[in-house]
């Protein structure tokens, strides 16, 4: 039984956006801190560190979760996806493109978490209803947009996934 002692660091391995990564962590190190400050993936932001604001949302094994409420050591062996993994090379994914076209971000600080939630939602449920979209978004705080364009962007990308054209 592995006991990770508090005075030492321990290796944790997981995949980040499809790439194997490892880091030395103390047991108390939060996943947000290892992503941002050990690995340097600063696209995931930290807004409250108590699980309310949603800015730090990442996908762990395909499901959106709060990275601030997860110990880095608990990520051992998991597949983690962050906002850096959405675009293919330099081409924005349709979801990101819809955000741009609908002006669904202003300061962009909460955006990464929202994108990870919506990306996971549409992977599971490509034709999600607006209520479902809102329900998923309710776990995120945005202080700039008033949410309307975020919902519009989500609906636009859903329609695009469904095969229809999307117009901004």
């Amino acid at each position: 039984m592995p006991r990770l002692t508090q005075d030492e660091t321990h290796e944790v391995r997981f995949t980040l956006n499809g790439r194997a990564v490892s880091a030395r962590v103390s047991p108390r190190l939060l996943l947000t801190d290892v992503l941002r400050h050990e690995i340097g993936a600063t696209g995931t932001h930290v807004g409250c560190e108590h699980g309310v604001c949603g800015a730090c949302t990442v996908q762990v094994d395909g499901e959106p979760v709060r990275a601030c409420l997860m110990l880095a050591a608990q990520a051992e062996g998991s597949e983690i996806r962050t906002v850096e993994g959405l675009a293919k090379r330099e081409q924005l994914a349709p979801l990101q493109e819809a955000f741009r076209e609908n002006f669904a971000l202003q300061c962009g600080f909460c955006t990464a978490g929202i994108l990870m939630t919506l990306d996971a939602l549409f992977s599971r449920e490509p034709d999600a209803e607006e209520d479902t979209i809102r329900e998923a978004l309710s776990g995120h705080l945005c202080r700039c947009t008033g949410y309307v364009p975020i919902v519009q962007a989500a609906l636009a990308v859903r329609n695009r996934i469904k095969g229809g054209p999307i117009d901004a």
Partner: protein, 275 residues
């Protein structure tokens, strides 16, 4: 806002976890989803010396159904239960309540048993467990015991769990034909802790229960005939009996108002959907 230091034991079978828990005594805590515990760690409200991660223990990761019951293991995430294909048929009340538990991002990691262990008086899952007359299976080294939910919850975040003991599973009695269920809740915002949450069960024999969370220190149940003539009086007495308190989000009076009004509506809904 970073946790104080602790050792982390990543247990891979139940024996290991129980041994570590035994050794850690009162300074050890189980972590599963961590959705209640990690905020407290980050704020340093909780400073356990040892955390025992039980999420990698296969025997705790199961949902087990018998003819009359559904048992949910301590590592089963709320989302897993939410997506369990038999949920609507077997546990309609839980199905109605689960979407009210925090947000989807929290349910993706949070466990059913973790919410029960945390014993927040506003939480939906302890409310359902009490309403349905469920039980909690507790394990410690060389000992297993089962406690009725109504005895397990002892107060605000206080339970019957002894040092060295952990929840292995919770067991819900399942739906019987002729019973109707309803769940309603009022919170400041969608996903917030309930100001008042109501779970009503109306049985084919004409009896009913209303279980209310968010008011007293634990969820409390009122037994009554489903079509009591003096329903309003009973609800009013119950509301007062819960000894509601003022807090930042609601007054005691408003909580009593909700027990009276939301409670009535929830009962009516349960009555109307008996199958």
């Amino acid at each position: 806002m970073k946790p104080a230091p602790f050792d982390l034991v990543v247990a891979t079978d139940l024996g290991e976890a129980l041994e570590a828990l035994h050794q850690g005594g009162t300074e050890a805590r189980v972590i599963a989803g961590g959705q209640s515990l990690v905020p407290m760690l980050n704020m340093r409200l909780a400073r356990p010396a040892t955390l025992i991660d039980i999420t990698r223990i296969p025997e705790l990761s199961r949902i087990e159904a018998t003819a009359d019951t559904v048992s949910v293991g301590a590592a089963v995430r709320q989302t897993t239960l939410e997506r369990w294909e038999d949920l609507a048929d077997r546990l309609p009340l839980v199905r109605a309540a689960l979407p009210w538990v925090g947000h989807t991002q929290l349910r993706n990691r949070g466990t059913v048993c973790g919410s029960v262990a945390h014993a927040d008086p506003s939480a939906e899952l302890p409310l359902c467990l009490i309403a349905l007359g469920g039980s909690v299976t507790l394990r410690r080294r060389r000992k297993t015991r089962q406690v009725a939910a109504r005895d397990f919850f002892q107060g605000m975040m206080s339970t019957d769990l002894a040092p060295g003991e952990m929840i292995a599973s919770v067991t819900f009695p399942t739906h019987r034909k002729g019973t109707g269920y309803a769940f309603r809740e009022v919170a400041r915002r969608h996903g917030d802790f309930a100001i008042v949450a109501c779970a009503a069960i109306a049985r084919h024999d004409g009896s009913a229960t209303l279980t209310v969370g968010g008011v007293a220190d634990t969820p409390r149940t009122l037994d009554l005939p489903a079509e009591a003539a003096d329903l309003d009086d009973r609800l009013n007495e119950f509301a007062w009996h819960l000894q509601a308190r003022d807090d930042l989000h609601a007054t005691a009076r408003y909580r009593r108002d909700l027990v009276r009004h939301l409670g009535r509506a929830t009962l009516k809904e349960a009555l109307s959907c008996r199958d």
